[in-house]
């Protein structure tokens, strides 16, 4: 498993273009196939909390450099799947899973079995950042919050940290609001600012996949718009998964959409198709607001 820590370049707006690999032939035969090759491959995935099975035989591809939206009624297992993608469920008592859950490597990298006990979850979570539904900044200063991740993983000088913090806060569209109070407590920020701080904190570690669990559910329309702009911009370099209860948001920001119901994947495909020409009746009912 090749998960070495690569030196990070804060100003990575112009990373070398990723060479895309040809589509697998199996994918090509399906009608609703991802437009880009898979970043995360999920096949026959089951997940439990103790004896309760939260996800049943789920198969889905999360494409590279696109935004994938998970939608579905409350309790259908969206967060559960999201948390398995970077093993946050490791710390949940009784949570276990089985199936095929593989992170496809970048060029020159090996694939990573996301479920293997031997997988280095620390390196994994550095590559797969996560933003939670409720903003959860540390009770430390704004600066320390953003610098928390980088400081865990590498020895960086004061100057490099400054630069990194500024870059991340700018990306998260928060810099202008907090640049004069970087060393004040992050708990003094408004809910929307806190959520953007959490996004800045997540991207400061240098992930290339970003998981977002209802990142806008606690935000006002203006902050939501900011976060959506951010997602739009980030997708140039990141593969993003976003869980959302807002159909409008899903249709605005995502390229691919997956609809879940009671722990099963009902339908997935390009967002446009899911919202205009869903194949399943359940999907149509849900996206048109008939239930859920």
């Amino acid at each position: 498993m090749n998960l070495q820590v690569r030196p990070m370049e804060p100003k990575s707006k112009n990373r070398p273009p990723v060479v895309e690999r040809p589509l697998a032939s199996k994918d090509a035969s399906e009608s609703a196939r991802p437009a880009r090759p898979a970043r995360i491959e999920i096949k026959d995935f089951d997940a439990w909390y103790g004896d309760f099975q939260a996800i049943h035989g789920l198969s889905l591809d999360v494409p590279r450099h696109q935004v994938t939206a998970f939608i579905g009624p409350s309790g259908c297992g969206k967060s559960t799947l999201l948390k398995w993608l970077n093993r946050m469920n490791d710390v949940v008592a009784g949570a276990h899973a089985q199936g095929h859950l593989v992170l496809k490597g970048d060029v020159g990298e090996d694939d990573v079995d996301l479920l293997a006990r031997s997988t280095d979850v620390v390196a994994l979570r550095r590559r797969i950042g996560i933003v939670f539904q409720k903003p959860n900044p540390f009770p430390k200063s704004i600066y320390q919050n953003v610098a928390f991740g980088p400081r865990l993983h590498m020895n960086i000088s004061r100057r490099e940290t400054d630069e990194l913090v500024e870059w991340a806060l700018k990306k998260a569209a928060l810099w202008d609001e907090v640049k004069d109070r970087l060393h004040k407590s992050a708990l003094g920020l408004s809910g929307g600012q806190q959520q953007r701080l959490c996004i800045a904190r997540a991207i400061a570690t240098g992930p290339n996949i970003l998981l977002m669990d209802e990142p806008c559910s606690a935000l006002d329309p203006a902050s939501t718009a900011r976060v959506e702009d951010l997602i739009f911009e980030l997708r140039q370099q990141y593969s993003i998964v976003i869980v959302t209860h807002s159909m409008q948001q899903a249709s605005r920001v995502s390229d691919q959409t997956a609809f879940f119901f009671q722990g099963r994947l009902i339908e997935s495909g390009p967002t446009e198709q899911i919202f205009t020409r869903p194949r399943e009746q359940q999907t149509e009912d849900y996206v048109s607001g008939k239930f859920g």
């Binding site: 009770p139 928390f148 959490c198």
Partner: protein
């Protein structure tokens, strides 16, 4: 839909009456609470006043700086006891706090995880379902073990401290006699460090003492029958001259200075470096400190666990989600957030250790003759509660007053310790 019957009833009068009664009850309950709170303050006040009246006159600098005295009780003090308490509780803190916080971290932050046994699964064909059963079973067993440790700790917190005293006696003082026994003149046991020089101490005619280096370590005492080489406390070497009782004493001052009665017997004395160490620990302040550590350990663990449980899980998720290891999360997020609670619990339990008498009485005994703090690691000590216990048990009025005065000193120290806890909590809350 029709409204439930209870909501349809129109009984404004009834409700008003009920509201009046409710408010009355609430008011009376409030008064009752105040009365109960006042009662506890009153009891404390009575205690403080009666003790101050009894011991106030004995409060003086002498009380703080002198040692206990049998002959001149009016000059007796508690300095050795203050130093002794400091040493015993220092050992207790050094052992109990890291161990207690560490155990709490283990119990709260390193919960067992469900094993997947992927490798074993590959090798032994048992079938998916059976393997799942095995994994779940293992997980439940590990959780059971965790719960068992937890249950034991909660139970230990309720064990009377005298029981810990007996435990400390056999574990630390005697160490089950594995290393031999320590005899009265401390010649046995396993001695590990701290060179000892043996002397026999003789008292000269003029009340000075001389030391005679001893070669034969088995000999408990010697009797002087012929002129011997000796050492004055100043380090000067002299040859002692003998004086037979019944004959004339020497008159020349220089000679008188080093004259000893023929047949005088010495007492064994050994000089130890401060790091003198032996096994078993014997009746030493180290053994007492370790025993006290056992007494407060469950309290420290439970307080630290409570504090760690108070850290929101979302903080742990945030840290782990950024790729922190469990230890990094504990160190950077959980411990700082739980620190006020951990500190408060630790300091309050140290207060308990300072005031604890029973286990010390068992481990160190009730003697209070010592006139200094511990001189080396294996030295014994007097502590304040033991001194108070001893003084309070005496008939003479003076000692009664001294005990009361010592209680005041002890209370002041405890009060200082508790206010330190409050101060630290406030400080850490603010930042």
């Amino acid at each position: 839909m029709t409204m439930p019957a209870a909501l349809q009833r129109d009984d404004a009068n009834d409700q008003a009456a009920k509201a009046g009664r409710r408010k009355l009850i609430s008011r009376w309950f409030y008064l009752l609470c105040i009365a109960i709170a006042m009662l506890s303050v009153l009891v404390l006040a009575v205690l403080l006043i009666s003790i101050s009246v009894q011991g106030g006159s004995r409060l003086s600098v002498d009380l703080l700086t002198n040692a206990h005295s049998e002959l001149h009780p009016e000059q007796a003090g508690m300095w050795p006891a203050i130093v002794g308490t400091l040493f015993v509780c220092g050992v207790c803190a050094l052992v109990a706090l890291p161990l207690g916080v560490g155990t709490a971290v283990f119990l709260e932050e390193f919960k067992p995880r469900r094993p997947e046994l992927r490798v074993l699964r590959r090798w032994i064909p048992l079938g998916q379902r059976r393997w799942d059963g095995v994994c779940t079973g293992l997980y439940k067993a590990m959780r059971g073990l965790h719960g068992f440790v937890q249950l034991n700790i909660s139970n230990l917190a309720g064990v009377p401290s005298i029981v810990y005293g007996l435990l400390g006696l056999s574990v630390f003082v005697y160490m089950f006699n594995v290393f031999g026994q320590i005899t009265v003149n401390e010649s046995a046991g396993l001695e590990l460090a701290g060179v000892r020089h043996y002397y026999q101490v003789l008292t000269l005619q003029r009340g000075e003492v001389v030391l005679i280096p001893q070669q034969d370590l088995q000999q408990a005492t010697i009797t002087v029958t012929e002129p011997v080489e000796a050492m004055l406390p100043s380090g000067e070497r002299v040859t002692l001259s003998l004086w037979k009782p019944g004959t004339e004493k020497p008159t020349e001052p220089e000679l008188r200075r080093r004259t000893v009665r023929e047949g005088a017997t010495g007492g064994r004395y050994s000089q130890k470096d401060w790091y003198y160490f032996r096994l078993p620990l014997g009746r030493s302040f180290l053994a007492a400190g370790l025993t006290l550590a056992l007494v407060i350990l469950p309290v420290v663990i439970i307080a630290s666990q409570e504090a760690l449980r108070g850290v929101p899980p979302s903080m742990r998720e945030a840290s782990l989600g950024l790729g922190a290891t469990t230890w990094q999360t504990t160190r950077n997020v959980c411990l700082p957030a739980a620190l006020p609670g951990i500190l408060t619990g630790s300091i309050l339990s140290m207060g308990r250790a300072i005031g604890e008498a029973a286990p010390i009485l068992v481990v160190l005994g009730a003697a209070i003759a010592k006139n200094s703090g511990p001189q080396h690691l294996m030295d014994d000590a007097v502590t304040m509660p033991v001194l108070i216990y001893n003084w309070a048990g005496r008939q003479q009025q003076v000692y009664q007053e001294l005990a009361a005065a010592a209680i005041i000193v002890l209370l002041v120290i405890l009060l200082l310790v508790n206010s330190l806890a409050i101060y630290l909590r406030q400080r850490l809350r603010q930042t």
